[in-house]
């Protein structure tokens, strides 16, 4: 289970997270929904220890990761897989080498076995036979799939998705949504998805956490969020602009 308790983070004079509390249940898909620039990615980066909070605690399976040194943090991170916004594949390696990277780094598996796992993971994300290609030869959607294959290479217990469908066409977005749902079903992993897309969120989420002004203003099932009386949530779901300034 992932739990954030009173997490505060400021960049300069701008307070992005304001004593944020959030409990993410295990083995389910939780979508953190919020406006662009509202600090959704910042939450994700705190969960995996890429950022440390100014104050507050972050528990991964009851272990406070804000107090760990790098070696201990690395052990915790091995339970994670993360799909970055632009996939963050290494340009200098082939797709296959990218997917193999965590296996080469953290296991002592023989080359043949690694190759087998790479092919299996690439098949799982619907990209068979691209192992020899360079990331620059892939389309945006294919890169995301390859990034997901790399993220699940070590069979992580927690998978983080940073805006998985941003910048994709509707058909590819839908395919990635299906992929997230199927991956979660197969691996029983805890999935945390960052999104600002309503349709996609209602399709994949078991739980939705609504981020507004640095806090989670509502957490619940898609049904509960849909029926929420909070004016911001109502507006967000109905995609209405008036009454709320355009923001940063």
């Amino acid at each position: 289970m992932i739990r954030l308790a009173g997490v505060t983070k400021s960049f300069g004079s701008q307070r992005v997270l304001n004593a944020l509390d959030l409990e993410i249940p295990s083995e389910e898909i939780t979508v953190i929904l919020g406006r662009s620039g509202s600090g959704k990615s910042v939450i994700l980066k705190h969960i995996i220890g890429l950022m440390t909070p100014d104050s507050g605690k972050i528990y991964i399976n009851d272990k406070d990761i804000t107090r760990l040194n790098e070696r201990e943090l690395n052990e915790v991170r091995k339970q994670f897989g993360m799909l970055f916004q632009d996939a963050a594949l290494f340009d200098s390696m082939t797709v296959g080498e990218n997917v193999a990277f965590p296996l080469v780094e953290h296991t002592r598996l023989p080359k043949k076995e690694i190759q087998r796992i790479v092919e299996e993971k690439l098949r799982q994300v619907g990209l068979p036979g691209v192992a020899e290609k360079m990331p620059s030869e892939l389309s945006g959607g294919m890169r995301k799939r390859a990034g997901l294959a790399r993220a699940i290479a070590l069979d992580p217990k927690i998978i983080l998705f940073d805006e998985p469908i941003t910048g994709l066409d509707p058909i590819m977005s839908d395919a990635i949504d299906d992929l997230i749902v199927n991956t979660q079903r197969q691996t029983r992993a805890t999935c945390v998805v960052i999104s600002h897309d309503i349709a996609s969120t209602f399709k994949i989420a078991h739980n939705i956490a609504m981020l507004y002004e640095g806090q989670i203003i509502e957490f619940g099932s898609p049904e509960a969020i849909r029926n929420s009386s909070h004016p911001f949530i109502r507006q967000f779901i109905k995609r209405e602009a008036p009454g709320w300034n355009a923001g940063p």
Partner: protein, 258 residues
């Protein structure tokens, strides 16, 4: 009060430079520590040695041979005025080994490999690939910075030795073949005046320059912000700061060693 403000204002750039110098040193120390921790990343080190060393060889050769030839030509015109043509060989050899070999090699490698280091690591930073390394429990200083710094320190002296030799060959060709200086005298004066220490001290310089250019370039890349524009800025700054640092440190190294 006004005086205080003046000092504050005038001192700010220096504080900035000092701060940045401190951060460069921290990155270097971190790379040094990671060099002795497993896994040792030999593959990355060799890959960087190829990028920094082998691939820089052509430009280094061209620079060395032409500077050796020009040196011979220029010193010949000077020495001819008082009948000292026989000193051309020794002049070329001493200048090449003490100064031109290490400094020009370092400058060429900075332009070629230093800018590439900053641009490559900078791109990885803005495309979240460095975050991805952290997320996959791989330390990016060990994976990216350490191999480049090690490659810089190992390959620069090797390139410098080649550059020294080729520069002297260039000088020999101009002096002995084109200007008609007796080649026996040319070589004899080199033997007479050139000490092994001249070469060694030049190589110590080369190691220092290799360290400076790789650490500065990696630093600039590692802390890149601001997308594609930031990557361009990082590459430019890497070359400018490395070059200036190489010249400044060259003065002090020369003052200490010779």
């Amino acid at each position: 009060m006004a005086m205080m403000n003046f000092f504050e204002y005038a001192g700010r750039p220096f504080v900035g430079i000092l701060e940045e110098f401190g951060r460069v040193m921290l990155l270097f120390l971190s790379a040094a520590v990671w060099a002795f921790r497993p896994p040792f990343r030999l593959r990355q080190v060799f890959k960087q040695m190829e990028a920094v060393g082998v691939n820089s060889l052509p430009v280094v050769l061209i620079t060395a041979v032409s500077s050796g030839m020009v040196l011979a030509l220029q010193s010949y015109y000077g020495f001819r005025m008082f009948g000292g043509e026989s000193l051309v060989g020794a002049t070329v050899a001493l200048s090449m080994t003490r100064e031109i070999g290490p400094v020009f090699t370092a400058l060429m490698v900075t332009g070629r490999a230093g800018s590439a280091m900053a641009a490559e690591i900078g791109t990885m930073r803005v495309k979240e690939q460095i975050d991805a390394l952290y997320a996959m429990s791989v330390n990016p200083v060990q994976f990216l910075v350490m191999p480049r710094v090690l490659a810089g320190m190992v390959t620069l002296p090797v390139l410098t030795v080649v550059s020294d030799f080729i520069g002297i060959v260039g000088g020999y060709f101009v002096g002995g073949q084109l200007l008609g200086i007796n080649s026996g005298v040319f070589m004899a004066r080199i033997y007479e005046m050139l000490d092994l220490n001249d070469i060694f001290n030049g190589l110590i310089k080369a190691v220092c320059f290799g360290l400076i250019l790789s650490v500065v370039s990696c630093y600039k890349g590692f802390y890149t912000t601001g997308g594609a524009e930031g990557v361009g800025r990082a590459a430019t700054q890497a070359v400018v700061i490395s070059t200036v640092s190489i010249f400044i440190s060259d003065f002090f190294l020369t003052a200490v060693m010779f």
